[in-house]
């Protein structure tokens, strides 16, 4: 796929680390930035971790939640239906989530190209940590062999993106057993699992920003 950048000048992008936040709180922040971006063509990137939550994308099959929702609720885990592509996914501390609020006019105005670039951001980042990853034909996301390490699901309004990617850094993999991730019979993995070390979230965040900068030709404002 052609990933050439139509606009050669670097795009200014403000990066904000939200820390560990509830899903809904981060969603409100995204929506506010989205409204701003649709009128001022501003570019923002939010990084965060979420308290445990199961989210269902549009057209998701609720059968892909494998445990009784009451049981999930008793564990303090919310189940939310949200406006992104993709099926069911699970977020929890230890998973780095990135929400690029990008006017896609600046990045080719092509949904597939945008998702391709998000995958590239993760592949480059994982390479830095010595993890060889790739795309898997027909299955959006990033994979280490046949194990999934990162998921992608986006929304686009007036050609501005929201939602984004989730990368398992030190996520407890057994927690994924409550869902069928993305509706697939797939094994999940994490950076800790692949490197057999404790990867520092702050190091991953720094590298993720650098990877976004390189892939999307951004000038980062912190």
């Amino acid at each position: 796929m052609n990933s050439a950048i139509p606009n050669c000048r670097a795009i200014l992008c403000k990066v904000t680390d939200l820390g560990v936040v509830r899903y809904h709180e981060a969603y409100q922040i995204q929506k506010k930035a989205l409204t701003k971006a649709t009128t001022k063509a501003s570019c923002e990137l939010f990084l965060c971790e979420h308290f445990s939550v199961v989210t269902l994308g549009r057209l998701a099959d609720e059968k892909n939640i494998l445990v009784d929702p009451k049981e999930i609720a008793e564990k303090g885990i919310e189940i939310l239906k949200i406006d992104r592509g993709g099926d069911v996914t699970f977020h929890a501390p230890g998973q780095l989530v990135a929400y690029p609020i990008f006017p896609l006019d600046n990045f080719g105005k092509d949904l597939k190209l945008f998702i391709f670039k998000l995958e590239q951001v993760i592949i480059d980042l994982l390479g830095y940590f010595g993890i060889l990853s790739s795309r898997l034909k027909g299955h959006t996301g990033v994979w280490v062999g046949h194990k999934k390490i990162a998921s992608i699901g986006v929304g686009v309004q007036k050609w501005v993106s929201f939602h984004g990617l989730a990368l398992n850094v030190s996520t407890r993999l057994e927690d994924f057993s409550i869902i069928k991730p993305c509706g697939l019979d797939v094994e999940m993995t994490s950076m800790n699992n692949e490197t057999e070390t404790q990867v520092e979230m702050q190091d991953v965040k720094k590298q993720l920003i650098l990877s976004f900068k390189n892939v999307f030709n951004l000038e980062i404002l912190s």
Binding site: D83, G85, G86, L111, I115, T140, G153, V154, G155
Partner: protein, 76 residues
Amino acid sequence: MIKINVPFLGEGIEDVTVSTWYFKEGDSVSSGQDVVEVVADKAIFNIESEKMGILKKIVVPEGKAAKIGETLAVIE
């Protein structure tokens, strides 16, 4: 009369699924207002009305697929 068609969304995207109609037939819509949401691969995409008017007819209902360029609705 204007038609709301599925726009070009990217190389290799040939069809979409209509996920949400934000209005029903007979409702008035404003220029630039999102009228319908479609799903393409792992993305949802909101399609807006280019002009104000009345949503006369929904051609493709929720849950159904449509090709790029296909008419989803008519606004008068």
